[in-house]
């Protein structure tokens, strides 16, 4: 969102409708997903998406800590989204800040909406998302990575959760904002889709949009999620053809 008093606002959209990195309004940044990127976790995935690098791991179903959170009729889903100190321009102090806690909550709820939690009463399904390099859209990259990690861990779900942000830049609705677009654009709306039902389980927004723009943004986001869904499925297919060696690919 535009910050009051910030130094200068760059031109985000050229006269011929191209964005600062040359993309069209409905074009995604390059996305690469490696399923099974870690050795210790029960399931894992590494996502490189534009200049984002995000790792996700899943542990569980396992014993609940702390114990009093245990539910007798279902598993609890606990996501922790965290940014490495060096993942952003100005060093971030280690530890969970309020932003991370809010993101962790909405992602936990998004996944609890699609995991068959009643199959694992009295357990916890723990999702950890670590942002190693951040360039706008890290919570969406985290949801994509966590989704593949959950599948890698064999957790039964209604469906994978593709996720992307739609925003408004220079008055136009654009898919998958990068950092400058997020900082100086007029709106940002991250979402996550259940492809099977066409419904959203994660949705946040801030900025300015008319009802009509909101409608178009939702449609563009759903379309983006469907493209991402294909990449996610391919990553899982690759995982089981290549075997355990996938971990070596990260960062290569």
């Amino acid at each position: 969102m535009g910050s009051v008093g910030a130094k200068e606002v760059p031109v985000l959209l050229s006269p011929d409708g191209k964005r600062i990195d040359g993309r069209r309004l409905d074009e995604l940044r390059p996305l690469k997903i490696v399923a099974g990127a870690l050795h210790q976790a029960d399931g894992s995935a590494f996502v490189e998406w534009g200049a984002n690098k995000v790792m996700a791991a899943v542990y569980g179903p396992r014993e609940v800590h702390p114990r009093h959170l245990q539910q007798n009729n279902k598993a609890i889903v606990q996501c922790k989204y965290n940014m490495a100190a060096f993942s952003v321009d100005e060093r971030k102090r280690p530890g969970l800040d309020r932003r991370s806690q809010e993101i962790s909550k909405v992602i936990s709820e998004a996944f609890e909406s699609v995991i068959f939690v009643e199959e694992y009463p009295r357990t916890s399904i723990d999702i950890y998302i670590e942002v190693l390099q951040a360039n706008a859209g890290t919570r969406c990259a985290g949801v994509v990575a966590a989704s593949v990690a959950l599948a890698d861990a064999g957790i039964p779900m209604v469906d994978l959760l593709p996720s992307v942000a739609v925003g408004k830049i220079g008055g136009a609705i654009a898919l998958d904002l990068k950092k400058e677009e997020d900082n100086f654009g007029e709106a940002d709306m991250p979402m996550a889709l259940v492809p099977q039902s066409g419904r959203l389980v994660l949705l946040q927004m801030e900025g300015h949009m008319t009802a009509e723009e909101l409608g178009r943004s939702l449609d563009l986001g759903v379309q983006g999620c469907r493209s991402i869904y294909e990449v996610m499925k391919q990553a899982l297919r690759d995982r089981y053809q290549v075997g355990g060696g996938a971990a070596q690919e990260v960062g290569a």
Binding site: M1, G5, N72, R98, E102, E109, L200, E206, T210
Partner: protein
């Protein structure tokens, strides 16, 4: 255990009622509980209000103090919103560091005020890069009977609208009203089966299958949204809820400003 059973029976009943457009407290699908505000409730604050939505009660106090601007916005004021879900307000809250639930309420209320540009932050600047007004918006929940976000947002907008910049206290000239330029408010919905009700009660929040909050302003913009809790909404749901939110928002703005 017996609590869990009670909650499940109540939840099933709420969903059954919703199937025929009815609610536990007799309201219609698109009705709020009674809404009222009392500006100036907490007189030690520079602006304040007690807001009630049904049995939910929230006090907001606004304090303005000189401080340092952020390095990346040297010409802008600083806005800080915090919601306290104190254990006085409901048996489910415990003393201790803020629960993610309280953090979400804080951040969603903050998002409407900030993205909706309620305050003209540029006017809070005293000396660029050196000194600015810091605006603390503290939301204190005293009776939690559901829909804290709308109650908190209403209390905050009322408190801001009635706030004074206490320049005299800090030898910065004469007091003046705080420069409120837009009037964003939150409207919250919950899915109960196929029905989507506005202003959920606490029982409805516990039974619901997804919550969606939409903040609108007086100029026809959606300025913030937050989907919360377990559940899902289709794009068509959201588009139609936005229309409902504008309607409710206009009424809330009148209540907040006393217009």
């Amino acid at each position: 255990m017996s609590n869990e059973v009670t909650a499940e029976i109540l939840g099933t009943h709420i969903l059954e009622l919703a199937r025929t457009g009815r609610r536990l407290d007799g309201r219609g699908i698109d009705d709020y509980r009674p809404v009222s505000v009392e500006p100036g409730f907490a007189a030690a604050a520079d602006g304040s209000a007690l807001a009630r939505i049904g049995a939910t009660a929230v006090v907001c106090g606004v304090k303005l103090e000189p401080g340092k601007p952020f390095p990346d916005t040297p010409n802008a004021g600083v806005l800080t919103t915090n919601a306290e879900l104190v254990p006085l307000s409901n048996a489910m809250f415990e003393p201790g560091p803020p629960h993610p639930r309280a953090i979400e309420v804080s951040r969603v209320i903050d998002r409407a005020i900030r993205a909706g540009e309620a305050i003209d932050l540029a006017k809070l600047c005293v000396t660029p890069g050196e000194k600015t007004w810091v605006c603390y918006v503290d939301v204190h929940v005293i009776d939690h009977s559901g829909n804290l976000i709308d109650a908190g947002s209403l209390a905050a907008l009322t408190a801001l609208t009635h706030a004074t910049l206490p320049s005299k206290r800090f030898s910065l000239g004469d007091d003046s009203p705080l420069a409120v330029q837009h009037y964003p408010v939150e409207t919250t919905f919950c899915r109960l089966g196929d029905a989507i009700v506005v202003d959920p009660s606490l029982d409805e929040e516990l039974a619901c299958q997804g919550r969606l909050t939409i903040a609108t302003d007086e100029a026809g913009n959606v300025v913030a949204m937050q989907k919360g809790l377990v559940g899902a909404f289709s794009p068509d749901d959201i588009k139609s809820l936005a229309d409902r939110a504008f309607r409710h928002g206009d009424r809330m703005r009148k209540i907040a400003t006393g217009a």
